[in-house]
Symmetry: none
Subunit: 196 residues, 4 copies
């Protein structure tokens, strides 16, 4: 008798999610059909439904993104000797990454979907919470070391992430947006705000 093979199962799940991502990037959640996804992932319709209960499950699984990258970056911040200089650079980097139209499209799609789907919203919200907590810890540890101004850590975290999101959005939507100029301005602003 054949035994369940968890590795294979994990691989299949990933294979499907990869196919789904390509479809979602190309068409969006609601425009990508399950047939599209199956074709792109190279599996049959039946298998799709063996690994995911329905389309929503794929979307949810897909949308619950990996925040490991951002958290790693925040950990660098926590360890940085000069957070006042580090933070603007971090913002710049995050904003640039997510201002890539393709990424922006996907992110917006996920966010839009989460505003209709409570389960997804919760998942996204919790993931975001994790990142926020990491940021708060980093801020607090830097404040304890006297390297950062004594501002409300939660509000500061929200401000910093808000800046990332807002700047990414502007970079996408505004033709005349000049990243370098904007980033210098933000650098100046944050330097004066953050210095202890």
């Amino acid at each position: 008798m054949r035994k369940a093979n968890p590795e294979l199962q994990q691989q299949r799940r990933q294979q499907i999610l990869d196919g789904a991502e390509r479809c979602f990037r190309a068409k969006g959640f609601h425009q990508a059909s399950m047939q599209d996804i199956a074709r792109e992932a190279g599996v049959s319709m039946g298998l799709l439904y063996r690994y995911f209960e329905n389309k929503e499950a794929i979307v949810a699984s897909f949308a619950t993104t990996d925040s490991a990258g951002v958290i790693a970056l925040i950990d660098e911040l926590a360890a940085s000797q000069r957070p006042v200089e580090f933070i603007p650079g971090m913002i710049r980097r995050l904003a640039r990454e997510s201002a890539d139209p393709d990424t922006m499209r996907l992110y917006t799609e996920v966010f839009a979907e989460s505003l209709r789907n409570p389960r997804l919203f919760t998942a996204l919200s919790e993931s975001e919470d994790g990142v926020r907590q990491a940021m708060i810890s980093a801020i607090k540890s830097q404040q304890a070391a006297g390297r950062l101004a004594q501002l409300d850590a939660g509000a500061l975290a929200d401000l910093l992430f808000g800046l990332v999101d807002g700047i990414s959005l502007r970079a996408t939507l505004v033709r005349q947006f000049k990243p370098a100029v904007a980033e210098r301005l933000i650098g100046t602003m944050l330097a004066s705000l953050l210095k202890p």
Copy 2:
């Protein structure tokens, strides 16, 4: 002989757009069917298509939002005696308005759609441009009056609007977000950035 009645036409168009808005709010663009819209607007399918060539036309007409409100607010800024205090208040107000989940949902939907539909993107982009230009003018006139720091006006406009968008988004997504605290922080930050 019966004559065409532009008033009636205008009213019907609005009636359809109103119905469409209710559907879009409730379900999103792609989940709202033309039948839904017709039913909600209280017209027949045939009439729907007499007034709008296709679904995309309804979405486009709907998405090309009126920026008159924001521009009016910016005009107040241009006339303000104390822009350094006015700006944070303006940001606060705009952010609160758009942080209403229902509004946020719709705005996100429009933005997401615009990232797939070039025509819509252009329309949105141009509308945003108008607002941005108004802001740039306001900033420059305040700078000329010596009431605002000599920063790059375009970058400053982008920063301010980016803050609005970013803060609205955080307010929606982050449970522990405390509007009052965040707004105070932003106020402090901008005060020091903007004072001449």
Copy 3:
């Protein structure tokens, strides 16, 4: 009080039929919509239905073609001194006319429709009958004058018209069809058949 104006009515009818013909040529009966016809004819939907009970009535009125042209040609045959030469020329001319793809398309459309619509079939059939009777008379008078072989007049008429139709069809469908060669062959064939 306004009085009915038969001339105007006749003109309107013709105007609609002309518009309909353009539509039918361009799209075919079933692909042309009443809206198309109204637009092309430059009248409103309401007027269309005032002059024709429904779409079928337009098609019927349109399809009941004028056979006056063919009958006139046949009358020339009746008067001809050399029918044995006249007939092949007549066939050639008729076949060429109806081999024009546009005309062929319309004729085929009408015929196809008549095979589904008994009323139309009757009308078409009767019109065809008139032409056939004219041809039979012409043949008989020429036979009486000893200028044509003593063949069954009805069968001969059917053969001649059948040749016209068949040759037109071949001219349309067969790429390598050579009208001149075919017509010469038919000429030879008929000459030997018809000579008294």
Copy 4:
């Protein structure tokens, strides 16, 4: 693991085409809806579209008729010892077959459609070409054997097929058409034309 079953697929395709034929016979191409076809074929809408990309594909597949029967008949001609007698009989048989109103209706429908649909026209034209070439070969071999007059083979083929089509059409359209009389006349005519 279940394997694709080409036999089943072939059977399903045929089942659909059979249903489609019944619908096309009853209503015509444009009057038969896909729902009609699905119902008549006893399959679901989804399956219909699994086997045929769209309606046009069904029509095309249906219209690209099998010319094997006619070609077989022509091969008999090629082998015949007395082509001058064989040909009129062949024409008679073909004309009778296609003069059946039901068959005529379908044939006319296909032809009409081909005049609007270039792809279909090409298919039909090529099929017709095949038949024509077979006829030309048959004629030439009989001519080489001295059993047929030395006429242009292409023109003769076109004439013969034109006669079939034209006579079939007359048989359908003309109430007083007398097949037996007409066929005798044609027999006489061809006998004198074809004898070497």
